[in-house]
């Protein structure tokens, strides 16, 4: 894979010509990749295909769940339960260890939520996710009820006990990717609408957030945009963007780009050393290698 070196320190993070292996293709909208440390396998979704796939290196892939309600972002909670941003299902749900599917959230203040996009779980057990109405609109992913009821686009937080649901950000549009810094003191959230930027928020001890600060705004010279984001153990932020994956230092400075030859949607760290980066694109999932491990998923 080609890379663009913007800052010389980028070569400390990636090889000059990192590998790019296609591990899955023939999907109609790849998203939601997450690595399962317990089973050492990758989960990802095909949104339009309404499937959750599991990929085991050296073995292959299989369907875990279908239909999914066009599920989107996924992560694991501390108990190893796959926790899902339901997108067209207009819900947050998870798969218990025994395989049971549990719905966690469908409404906010009595109104049906829009379409949850991406999701992270804090070490406290609190679940944060992005929610915008865009899933009501995109062909092939539309829910049974395509009406938007909540005006605000938002980022929501569900308390660890599942009883307190709050909207913690609602001052922007089309919230999409979401990621914590390694020490969880910062939350990165992006805007995938035309404005295309990433903001960063201080995370308070009670789970609330401080005001957002602009962190990064890519130049839109090529196809692609900010979507999924992940952070490595040094606090470097990897985000999808025009032309591939943009790698930013903790100050929001662009270090370089991984030139993935497809429209990237999201990514996750994986393999035992967390030094593989699994990249979901519209029609395929790729794997590359980096020198600095990513933040492990529970």
């Amino acid at each position: 894979m080609d890379i663009d070196v913007i800052d010389p320190t980028f070569t400390r993070l990636v090889e000059s010509r990192p590998p790019l292996d296609c591990i899955a293709q023939g999907i109609s909208f790849g998203e939601g990749p997450v690595w399962d440390r317990r089973e050492q396998c990758l989960y990802f979704v095909d949104i339009i295909g309404s499937r959750i796939w599991k990929y085991k290196p050296g073995i292959g892939r299989e369907i875990v769940l279908e239909p999914t309600g066009h599920a989107n972002g996924m992560t694991f909670d501390r108990d190893g339960r796959l926790t899902v941003a339901g997108w067209s299902g207009r819900s947050i749900w998870r798969i218990e260890r025994d395989g049971a599917v549990i719905t966690l959230v469908t409404h906010y203040q009595g109104k049906k939520i829009n379409t949850p996009n991406d999701i992270v779980v804090h070490s406290s057990g609190a679940i944060y996710w992005t929610d915008s109405p865009n899933g009501l609109l995109f062909g092939g992913m539309v829910p049974d009820d395509a009406q938007q009821y909540i005006d605000e686009h938002g980022v929501y937080r569900l308390s660890p006990d599942g009883k307190d649901l709050r909207r913690v950000i609602d001052d922007d549009f089309y919230f999409n990717g979401i990621a914590f810094s390694p020490d969880e003191s910062l939350l990165y959230v992006n805007n995938s609408a035309d404005i295309q930027h990433i903001r960063v928020f201080d995370v308070h001890s009670d789970g609330s957030l401080g005001p957002g600060r602009l962190f990064y705004k890519p130049k839109r010279s090529e196809p692609g945009g900010v979507d999924g984001m992940k952070v490595d153990v040094e606090g470097n932020l990897y985000t999808t963007g025009p032309g591939g994956i943009h790698v930013l230092d903790p100050n929001g400075r662009l270090l370089g780009r991984l030139r993935v030859p497809a429209h990237c949607t999201n990514m996750t760290w994986g393999d035992e050393d967390w030094q593989s980066l699994y990249i979901a694109t519209i029609h395929a999932v790729y794997r590359t290698r980096v020198k600095v491990p990513g933040v492990a998923v529970w």
């Binding site: 109609s28 865009n134 062909g139 539309v142 395509a146 009406q147």
Partner: protein
């Protein structure tokens, strides 16, 4: 007798489209505002009927108080349900996504006929599904399992903009062609066979061009109680200007009436006994002609209010 139009609402942001009479008020689309609004002729008040309508530009009543809408941005025909929800209909034909619907009618069998042209405005989001290689009139039909299926109706259109059924539903009228797109701008009449297929079309009216440019064709149509086609067309840029035309079913021009707005879009009858004609426009306003000496045809599922307004 000239028809006198007055502006009764607006301007709203962007063009107004629509329209659908609900028995006591006129629903219309404020397309750029992503809203369907309702004009009450008794109070002159405008209220929101539905928001987040994804550039719905055409609306028509179906059974059970369902309002169908053609969503250009949503790239679908949507059913606005009485409970406030919105249900998607079929969006694939021969395994491919259709284009971006702009106008629709509902027949008495509850089939939804709609114009499905290509649009210069791309739908939002990642462009996964290319447009169809054709721009046709399509028809949504209910299967025996209450699912929607999609049928292609026309095979010779390149830019259908508006459509209408005759009162006995044996003729499909199609306004074909857009300025600055290839192909003519004309009003066509297609005979409808009992199996729903259509025959070869007749041209009822053809719009020309002059040194100022191509004449803007029909953007919206409705039927009067005599079976005549009432149509909005034209612009001040070229041709005879923005007009309401009244065509006989064979295409003779019975009347034309000047409009006080450039670039008229859709028209529909409303008010008591469907005795007034409402017109939407690119200027974002709603106009109404009263005492016009014509009444609207009560199409299936259209409610007629006999009371005076």
């Amino acid at each position: 007798m000239p028809w006198n139009f007055e502006r009764v609402a607006g301007p709203f942001r962007g063009a107004t489209m629509g329209l659908a009479w609900d028995g006591s008020g006129m629903l219309f689309c404020a397309v750029d505002e992503e809203r369907i609004l309702r004009f009450d002729p008794e109070t002159a008040a405008v209220e929101e009927f539905r928001k987040y309508t994804q550039r719905t530009g055409g609306i028509a009543w179906g059974p059970d108080n369902i309002l169908f809408g053609s969503q250009e941005a949503g790239r679908r025909v949507i059913a606005f349900m009485p409970d406030g929800s919105a249900r998607q209909t079929a969006y694939k034909i021969d395994g491919c996504f259709h284009n971006q619907p702009v106008d629709l009618v509902v027949d008495r069998s509850c089939c939804v006929w709609f114009c499905d042209p290509h649009s210069v405005r791309r739908p939002p989001g990642v462009f996964v599904f290319p447009p169809l290689p054709h721009a046709s009139v399509l028809r949504l039909e209910r299967t025996s399992h209450r699912q929607w299926s999609l049928q292609r109706v026309t095979y010779d259109t390149v830019a259908p903009r508006s459509l209408l059924l005759s009162a006995d539903e044996t003729v499909l009228y199609v306004a074909e062609g857009e300025v600055e797109q290839s192909g003519p701008r004309e009003l066509r009449a297609y005979p409808i066979a009992s199996d729903g297929s259509i025959g070869r079309f007749s041209i009822l009216h053809s719009f020309g061009a002059d040194y100022r440019g191509e004449h803007r064709g029909i953007v919206g149509m409705c039927l009067d109680s005599d079976g005549n086609i009432v149509a909005c067309a034209g612009s001040r840029k070229s041709g005879p200007g923005p007009l309401v035309y009244v065509f006989t079913p064979s295409g003779a021009v019975l009347e034309t009436h000047e409009l006080p707005t450039d670039l008229p879009n859709r028209c529909a009858f409303g008010d008591a006994n469907l005795g007034s004609l409402y017109v939407t426009s690119m200027d974002g306003c709603i106009y109404r002609g009263t005492n016009i000496g014509r009444r609207g045809h009560a199409a299936p599922f259209v409610r007629v209010s006999p009371q005076a307004v």
